[in-house]
């Protein structure tokens, strides 16, 4: 299927011709009775997996089933932070694989995902923070991942709105900076993968909720029951984020997951004032500025498991307290919207990209509060695992069995959230 190419020339030409000749970016097909592979979940991870299945593994008879609209789950609800400065070797390799794919994703997909490596700075407020972050810096450098230590004046130079006075409750004692980290446009990532997958023949089927997983006499996946009728497939990949336990429960698989609401909010738009991404795990704040001018602020998870996609206001207020102390200039900004997404959290805060005990059933889950940054890498490795029925070396450690075998990849301290 030929897609219109995006270029400066095509934008100018269609702009001058009043934008009347744009085509739809992807089809709205009816589901076929059967496919070679099905992906459950039309977020960035699922759409990306479908794209790589078609592009790298030659599997084009593939459909993505999405119960709502594509990119309407956590892909459209996160704070778009991208970084790879994780502590352990397995995690650094996994997240840096993803970061490298981000770097030329727009060119590869011919779609501007607005990847902006503006630098991600993580603040240290205690002696313990300093020790942990310096350990991260050294571990990252051993793994070829850029990360550097900044003293408070250097942090202030990198991010001028930052308050480095010593008289605040949690003064800034230093920071770890990953310059290759940054942000991207979250919706564009879903749309780019959807458009590219569609061009390769992948069917994207929205408003199609999976209600049951049918298996043959040997236990292998045979078909899915959906709200748009049964669809047969011998391979099914689940990329359902917060609903993974629900979907895999249909095949009798129990997972080490708990689904929590994670909230975010944006301010009214202002002129460019914030040049980078700043995170603080100790006092719990994430902040960056979108290209529209809104400050994008990430709050924490609520205390309890839930599927409601909303949380309590005091969680947001806690984050805003920290933001106002670190950046006093934002104290008079009004907040415009807040929302929640449901994130699936594992006990070791590392993801699972793996085969399941059910033949033909694969899962990509457990990304918790940090799945957006991994979108291209996770999709790429998930497609590999589905196509070859075995993990890529990069995701081989990220199995379900690691919990049985005691080989946890304990990034709880490294994920920039005070879990």
């Amino acid at each position: 299927m030929n897609k219109q190419k995006f270029s400066a020339f095509s934008l100018l030409w269609r702009g001058l011709s009043r934008h009347r000749s744009w085509q739809a970016q992807w089809r709205k097909p009816q589901p076929k009775p059967s496919y070679d592979a099905l992906i459950i979940g039309g977020g960035g991870h699922g759409l990306g997996a479908a794209y790589y299945l078609a592009q790298e593994h030659g599997l084009t008879n593939v459909a993505v089933l999405e119960k709502g609209w594509i990119g309407g789950g956590n892909t459209g609800r996160n704070t778009t932070i991208i970084r790879s400065n994780y502590l352990f070797d397995e995690s650094a390799a996994l997240y840096d694989h993803s970061l490298k794919l981000w770097e030329n994703l727009s060119q590869r997909l011919n779609y501007n995902v607005m990847f902006s490596p503006r630098g991600v700075m993580m603040l240290a407020h205690t002696v313990h923070d300093i020790q942990v972050f310096k350990r991260h810096v050294h571990a990252n450098r051993c793994n070829g991942v850029d990360n550097e230590w900044l003293e408070p004046p250097q942090a202030k130079a990198f991010c001028p709105p930052l308050n480095i006075e010593e008289n605040i409750r949690y003064p800034v004692l230093g920071a770890a900076l990953q310059r290759r980290g940054g942000t991207a446009r979250h919706d564009a990532v879903a749309w780019a993968y959807a458009r590219a997958a569609d061009a390769l023949g992948v069917d994207i089927i929205e408003n199609c909720e999976v209600t049951a997983i049918r298996r043959d006499s040997e236990g292998r996946v045979q078909a899915l029951e959906t709200t748009r009728g049964p669809i047969a497939a011998r391979k099914v990949g689940v990329a359902a984020a917060g609903h993974t336990s629900v979907v895999l429960g249909m095949a009798g698989v129990r997972l080490p997951l708990e689904s929590y609401p994670l909230q975010a909010l944006v301010s009214e738009p202002v002129k460019p004032i914030f040049p980078c991404v700043v995170m603080s795990n100790t006092i719990h704040a994430y902040i960056s500025q979108s290209d529209k001018g809104e400050l994008v602020i990430g709050a924490g998870t609520d205390a309890y498991t839930s599927y409601t996609q909303r949380g309590a206001l005091h969680v947001n207020a806690h984050t805003l307290d920290a933001i106002c102390e670190l950046f006093p200039t934002f104290r008079r900004l009004r907040m415009m919207r807040n929302w929640g997404g449901i994130v699936d959290v594992t006990p070791d805060r590392s993801p699972i990209i793996a085969k399941t005990p059910v033949p033909g059933l694969y899962v990509n889950c457990g990304w918790g509060t940090g799945g957006f940054k991994a979108t291209p890498g996770a999709a790429h490795l998930f497609a590999w695992t589905i196509a070859r029925d075995e993990p890529h070396p990069l995701n081989a450690p990220f199995t379900i069995e690691r919990f049985r075998d005691g080989r946890l990849i304990d990034e709880a301290a490294a994920a920039a959230v005070a879990h």
């Binding site: 629900v246 498991t305 309590a312 005091h314 049985r404």
Partner: protein, 99 residues
């Protein structure tokens, strides 16, 4: 913010409580006899139910006691709370007034 019904103190705001995860997970009486799979089941695998979920809470900034509650995770509505050691209450359908 949720209002949570402590069986000892009555309804209090959520910030007085600490969450304790899934309820009625019994520590196996003799762990040495378990294989790794069943030990991992106990340590890590969770129901993560979408719907009525039995969970532990602790009134950490109140009486300090643990108790259990039934909550619908699709609405966050509490359906019952009960003391540790008591069996999970049977909810008569329909559970509570329709929201």
């Amino acid at each position: 913010m949720l209002l949570i019904d402590c069986p000892y103190c009555g309804e209090r705001p959520e910030i007085e409580f600490a969450y304790g995860g899934e309820a009625h997970l019994e520590r196996p009486p003799n762990p040495a006899e378990l294989d790794d799979q069943r030990w991992a089941e106990y340590l890590y695998m969770r129901s993560n139910t979408k719907g009525v979920y039995a969970e532990r809470w602790r009134h950490a900034r109140g009486c300090g006691r643990f108790f259990n509650a039934l909550r619908d995770t699709t609405t966050d509505r509490f359906l019952a709370s009960y003391k540790v050691g008591e069996p999970r209450p049977q909810l008569s359908p329909p559970a509570g007034p329709a929201a």
